[in-house]
C-alpha cells in the first residue's frame, strides 16, 4: 500500500532518500572510526602487555 504522492513524488522521495543517505553516512563513518580506533588500541595494548609482562 504505497501512498499516492501525486505530482510531488520527486520532492518527497528525494527528501527521504537524501536524508537516509546522509544519516547512513554519518552513522557509517562513526562506526568505521570506532572499529578502526578499537582495533589499533587492542593491537597497541597487546603489544605493550607482551613487552611489559
Amino acid at each position: 500500500m504505497m501512498p499516492d504522492l501525486g505530482k510531488y513524488a520527486f520532492a518527497v522521495l528525494a527528501s527521504y532518500g537524501a536524508s537516509v543517505a546522509l544519516l547512513a553516512a554519518i552513522v557509517g563513518a562513526s562506526l568505521w572510526q570506532r572499529a578502526r580506533v578499537k582495533a589499533q588500541l587492542r593491537e597497541v595494548e597487546a603489544r605493550q602487555e607482551g613487552r611489559d609482562g
Binding site: 518527497v12 527528501s15 527521504y16 546522509l22 553516512a25 588500541l41 597497541v44 613487552r51
Partner: protein
C-alpha cells in the same frame, strides 16, 4: 554522587557502555515508527499535497542542527571552566553530527521549496541562517583538525564556539533585518503547535524524539571513540619513550 563523576573517562566509558545499545535501540525504534507512520499513514495536506511528509525529516533535523550547536556551546563552557576532557571530546564528537543535521535540513528544505515556492533556493532568512550555521560548523571542525596538540585544539575550538555563538545569533537577526522572507514560521514551528493538525503532530513528535535519541547515540559513540583515540595516542607516546 555528583554528575561530575561522569566526567571521569573511565566512569564515562563504563556507564555509557551499557547505556549505548539502549539509546541506539530507542532511536531506531522511534525513527522507524515515526517515519513509517508519517510516510504511509498520514493524509495529504490540502494545500501542500504530499510534500507535507517532508516535515518529518525537515523539522527534527533543523531543531537538532541548532540544538547540537547549543550542546557544543555548553560542553565548551564546561571544558573551559572545569577542564573535563570528556566534555571537550563530546563537543568535538557532536560537530560532524550537527553538520549532517544542518545539511539534511537544507536539502529537505530545498526539495520542499522547489514545488512550493517554485525555486530550489531562496535567500529566505531561515535558509540563509542555516547556510551560515553550516559555515560555522565547517570552521569549527576545520580548526579541530588543524591544531595538532589536543588540549590546545580543545581550548581554541571552545573559544571559537563561544565567539561563534554570539556571531551566529547576530547573523540570525541581521539576516531577518535584511529580508523578511517567505518561510511559513507558524505552521512548522513548535511553539505554535495549534497550527499543525493532530494527524501530522503526533508522528512528528515521534520523529523528533527519534532524532534526539539518534543525536545522543551518535555523540556518545563518537565521544567513546575520541576517548579511545586519546588513550591510543598516550600509549603510543609511552611506547616511543620506552
Amino acid at each position: 554522587m555528583s554528575i561530575w563523576e561522569y566526567a571521569n573517562p573511565k566512569k564515562f566509558m563504563a556507564s555509557t557502555g551499557w547505556l549505548l545499545p539502549w539509546v541506539w535501540g530507542m532511536a531506531g525504534l522511534c525513527l522507524l515508527v515515526g517515519l513509517i507512520w508519517g510516510y504511509f499513514f498520514t493524509p495529504d495536506d490540502f494545500r501542500q499535497g504530499s510534500t507535507v511528509k517532508i516535515i518529518y525529516l525537515h523539522v527534527p533535523s533543523a531543531m537538532m542542527a541548532i540544538n547540537a550547536w547549543v550542546m557544543m556551546l555548553v560542553a565548551s563552557l564546561i571544558w573551559l571552566i572545569r577542564r573535563h576532557h570528556v566534555s571537550a571530546l563530546a563537543a568535538k564528537a557532536a560537530a560532524p553530527v550537527g553538520l549532517t543535521f544542518t545539511v539534511i535540513a537544507l536539502v529537505t528544505g530545498a526539495l520542499w521549496g522547489q514545488p512550493m515556492w517554485g525555486t530550489w533556493w531562496a535567500w529566505d532568512p531561515r535558509l540563509t541562517s542555516f547556510l551560515i550555521l553550516t559555515l560555522f560548523y565547517l570552521g569549527y571542525i576545520a580548526l579541530w583538525q588543524a591544531v595538532e596538540n589536543p588540549d590546545t585544539a580543545a581550548d581554541l575550538t571552545a573559544v571559537l564556539c563561544l565567539v561563534g555563538s554570539v556571531f551566529a545569533l547576530l547573523s540570525r537577526y541581521a539576516v531577518l533585518f535584511w529580508n523578511q522572507g517567505l518561510h511559513q514560521g507558524a505552521s512548522l514551528s513548535l511553539d505554535k503547535e495549534e497550527n499543525v493538525a493532530d494527524v501530522f503532530w503526533f508522528p512528528l513528535l515521534v520523529c523528533i524524539a527519534g532524532f534526539v535519541l539518534l543525536f545522543v547515540a551518535l555523540v556518545l559513540m563518537r565521544t567513546r571513540t575520541e576517548i579511545r583515540a586519546r588513550r591510543l595516542q598516550a600509549l603510543i607516546a609511552r611506547e616511543r619513550l620506552a
